[in-house]
């Protein structure tokens, strides 16, 4: 039986008084990777920010495991079990890797922080011998791991990832996507925005295409990969659109 984790229904949201996304609907089930793709400026980041209470909501409804989180504040969402990794500036660069992970526990202390940390270091073994290093000195891929690790430290049910592979080499891209599959299998749902659409659709359980702030296409990752229209418009060449 699948359980609905996040339900975004006909949401309009944006900055100030200006709506950027209009009537968007997105669902995320338990232990699913849901990917959002779409051209630059389509409103993908805006959608994630809307879920995470970082901008203005105008209409619609958002529920998280059955509770309404429409117009909720970020600080209240973290304890509920949502965490997020922004697109850029997503680690505290002057804090050590260890401290970055610790910060992830402050807003919503997990039952056993040490065990959670150990679990995350199992997932990201690269970080094990870098714990004392400043996060700002790590490579791009390792910084992404720290960022995702920090988000996982609060034992969330859902994490929101904004372009976790932006700027990474293709080799690292595989690594990160592999890790995300493991994260999912450990019981965390993932809603992520991706520019590397083809690869992202390959690991996605379900996916949405956003254009001009509106839902354009949706389907399982495999369905969208097979769809001619989607392929032509959004997956041209296989890299970034």
């Amino acid at each position: 039986m699948t359980e609905l984790v996040l339900d975004v229904r006909a949401v309009s949201a944006g900055y100030g008084k200006m709506p950027i996304i209009k009537d968007i609907s997105v669902h995320v089930d338990h232990q699913q990777i849901v990917t959002i793709i779409g051209p630059n400026g389509a409103g993908k980041s805006t959608l994630l920010k809307a879920v995470f209470g970082l901008n203005q909501h105008f209409s619609g409804e958002i529920t998280f495991v059955g509770m309404s989180i429409f117009n909720a504040r970020t600080a209240d969402l973290v304890p509920l079990g949502i965490s997020a990794v922004p697109q850029t500036h997503n680690v505290f660069s002057s804090l050590s890797v260890d401290e970055n992970l610790d910060v992830g526990t402050f807003a919503a202390p997990p039952r056993d922080a040490e065990a959670t940390k150990a679990h995350i270091l199992e997932l990201f073994p690269d970080l094990k011998d870098k714990l004392k290093q400043q996060a700002g000195q790590l490579s791009g891929g390792q910084r992404q791991m720290v960022a995702v690790g920090r988000a996982l430290m609060s034992d969330p049910k859902l994490i929101l990832l904004d372009e976790p592979t932006a700027g990474l080499s293709p080799a690292y891209l595989e690594v990160i996507f592999d890790l995300l599959l493991q994260v999912r299998d450990s019981g965390v749902s993932i809603l992520m925005v991706e520019q590397n659409a083809k690869q992202a659709l390959q690991i996605a359980d379900y996916a949405y295409v956003l254009v001009n702030g509106e839902n354009a296409y949706e389907g399982t990752g495999a369905e969208l990969l097979a769809d001619d229209e989607v392929r032509r418009s959004f997956l041209g060449g296989g890299g970034a659109p």
Binding site: F92, S94, L95, V103
Partner: protein, 295 residues
């Protein structure tokens, strides 16, 4: 050489300790709230006078009056933040700088109205210096100030690197937006920043009174060396600010030592040393001597 240590180095470290304690607050507030707090010196003044009242009313020594000074100064800082700084939080920070300029004036004129403008001392009479190894003559108050500052430095380091609140503060200083995404309660962290900054300012204020006397311009006059210390240490880095304060305190005293038969500068220009250091830092190393934020 012995003379240098007794009459220049030790007083320099004492002065530097006072600058350091004040500069920590300036540096933390800059790191977390991102503005230069021009009322910080006057928070020191408030602390010095609060302790003076406790000394008068309760007849206790100045050091024992420190908790009282801390409470009054923290209240003043929290009130100033609530009434005058918080309403401006969403504007460019320079408006808060202007507001803090006004708070400096408000605090000082309250002190002047309540306590008058004559300078006061915590205690009268001559204290015999402690003599070590028959050569080092160190005033008791200097020993107290230096040891207390050393202890506070260790505590501050522990606080920032080990405790949850300390790490939260460093996280907010590093990237306030990301801290919000991580769900940290920024307003709570700001309150604690004020409490710590004001408490250290209060202690520094009492130390000034202990070292010299208590007067209403006490804190305002220290603003320049405190800013210089915070800049030298790299603004937003409290431990750097402590190092910066000590360097400036020692430099000020050392510059008046007759190394080559003549003093480097006239003693009345001591506070120019801080300014020169500040200018050099702004020209050559605006990021300060040390790396990292809030450490």
């Amino acid at each position: 050489m012995i003379d240098f240590i007794n009459f220049y180095l030790i007083p320099g470290i004492t002065l530097g300790s006072i600058y350091a304690l004040g500069a920590v607050g300036v540096s933390m507030i800059f790191g977390i709230l991102r503005f230069a707090h021009f009322a910080h010196g006057d928070l020191m003044t408030v602390g010095a006078y609060a302790a003076l009242t406790a000394v008068w009313v309760l007849g206790i020594p100045a050091l024992a009056a420190i908790p009282f000074a801390i409470i009054v100064t923290c209240l003043a800082a929290l009130l100033a933040d609530r009434l005058f700084y918080r309403p401006l939080r969403d504007l460019p920070t320079i408006y808060t700088v202007i507001a803090s300029f006004g708070v400096a004036l408000i605090l000082r004129s309250i002190v002047q109205t309540v306590w008058g403008t004559d300078s006061q001392v915590y205690m009268t009479g001559f204290q015999k210096p402690t003599i070590f190894f028959d050569t080092f003559r160190i005033a008791t108050r200097h020993i107290q100030i230096i040891l207390a500052t050393a202890a506070l430095t260790v505590a501050l380091h522990y606080f920032l690197s080990r405790t949850r609140l300390g790490k939260s503060m460093r996280a907010v200083a590093d990237d306030p937006d990301l801290a919000a995404v991580a769900g940290l309660d920024t307003e709570r962290i700001i309150r604690w920043t004020w409490i710590i900054g004001a408490a250290l300012a209060a202690i520094a204020g009492v130390f000034v009174g202990l070292d010299t006397d208590v007067h209403t311009n006490l804190g305002w006059n220290l603003l320049l060396p405190m800013f210089a210390a915070a800049l030298l240490g790299g603004i937003g880095k409290p431990l750097g600010a402590i190092a910066g304060g000590l360097i400036i305190g020692i430099a000020e005293e050392a510059c008046t030592y007759p190394f080559f038969g003549d003093t480097l500068i006239a003693p009345s220009y001591k506070s120019a040393v801080a300014f020169v250091i500040m200018v050099l830092i702004l020209i050559y190393r605006p990021q300060g001597l040390f790396r990292g934020r809030l450490m």
